[in-house]
Symmetry: C2
């Protein structure tokens, strides 16, 4: 499995993903699930992927090939410019391109995969901002359709989302500062990694601050990362103290309900 988090805050977009993939419990590998692009001062785009790895790699590879083709001056058969994540006129169109690519890859492989009992499902988080537009966060499904994060729902999760959802539910609002949101993302990842073997370090972290049109931070977080270790250890202690501060529960047999 996988665990990816995308937060859409007023201050910007915070993206975090683990790197563990498995084809059965005895076949565990490490692949990054985060891809980022920036066009100096004009736009920043990040994709986070979950699901069937051959499908998501297929989607990312096609999107990259299109960028290379456009950069090298190739055109469509009719002579028109090749549309890519880096020249699309809006983040909405970027999400559409990812959705269309997903649909193409699914069309190519889904039937055969399902005939052999494998799952072809895959999902992608698309995050970014271009100069002239808002910063936006989309969740693209296997069918190529998508939804967008909003004021009411300022975050999306992919993959093993349940363990780490309670802390995000409690902390994340659109007004949450990035520094606080980062802590919540770390805690959410830490809870998931502790409870589920299919999610594992290292992590990838990216931040796209509003109005900067660039990847402000991209960081690989290894097991020995001092920030992650501090958060993980201090959260354990803080959680235990918080727990110990709770009042005792009545066990005298009297119904208080």
């Amino acid at each position: 499995m996988t665990y990816c988090i995308g937060l859409k805050l007023e201050e910007g977009l915070v993206l975090m993903s683990d790197t563990r993939t498995n084809a059965g419990l005895d076949n565990v590998s490490r692949f990054t699930k985060m891809s980022t692009w920036e066009v100096g001062g004009e736009r920043a785009v990040a994709l986070l992927t979950a699901g069937n790895l051959s499908i998501t790699q297929g989607v990312i590879t096609r999107l990259k090939h299109a960028i290379t083709d456009a950069e090298e001056g190739r055109t469509n058969d009719d002579g028109s410019e090749i549309e890519t994540l880096l020249n699309a006129p809006s983040m909405f169109r970027v999400a559409q391109i990812v959705g269309e690519t997903m649909r193409d890859v699914q069309e190519r492989h889904r039937k055969t995969l399902e005939e052999q009992g494998a799952a072809a499902d895959a999902t992608v988080l698309v995050a970014g901002q271009r100069n002239g537009g808002q910063h936006r966060l989309f969740l693209i499904y296997s069918a190529g359709n998508f939804i967008e994060a909003s004021y009411d729902t300022p975050f999306f999760q992919l993959g093993e989302h349940k363990y780490g959802k309670p802390i995000l539910d409690r902390i994340i609002t659109p007004e949450t500062p990035i520094s606080v949101a980062l802590k919540a993302a770390f805690v959410s990842m830490d809870s998931t990694i502790r409870s589920n073997l299919t999610v594992g370090l290292p992590l990838d972290l990216a931040i796209i601050r509003t109005g900067q049109f660039k990847i402000d931070l991209k960081r690989r977080i290894e097991q020995e990362d001092p920030d992650f270790q501090r958060i993980s250890n201090e959260w354990s202690d803080a959680l235990r103290n918080a727990f110990e501060s709770l009042p005792e529960v009545t066990t005298d047999g009297a119904s208080r309900g």
Copy 2:
């Protein structure tokens, strides 16, 4: 869905279940998922159920009918005594009886259910102690097979287990006192109820203290229950304080990994 917790501690067995069932999001009902029996001073037995409600109700009804039949002096066709949860010679045999009953009910309904696209899966926690034996906790699967809680794994969960697992992972050991374990069970339920609509109040709580051979506490916990409300509110505050006490994460762009 459902969320049930069974804790096997040195001090005794703690059992908690929600009461929400749903056949689709627009068909939500309330059913208890906990059944308890005690034979004064000799044994206490509790069952918690999850999965297809018609299956689990079928299992519980058959077990109850057998008890009634035995109490009223009826016998098997060959004149032998009817074996029930209340006269079985060991908790292990109690678990076997529940497993055999599950297998019979599955045999009767599973094929038809699956032909109509419904899931027949169901699971049961069996907890209890009889005079002369240890207190034990079993998890019975749809096939009637089962596993037992041990020193290394002192708790089982049924149903929507992921949201509420991190706090149990951190707090519960066999040595945890019942008063502390109860708090952890409340917090685990609270986290699950906050994050998943298919788990809901009221809750059922039962405690079987070691060596008492009776249900020491059985309590229905409604929305307005003062203990649950205090735990829920204070946990929210304590969690927020714990979170705020965490160190800031580096966002200066320097890789510290």
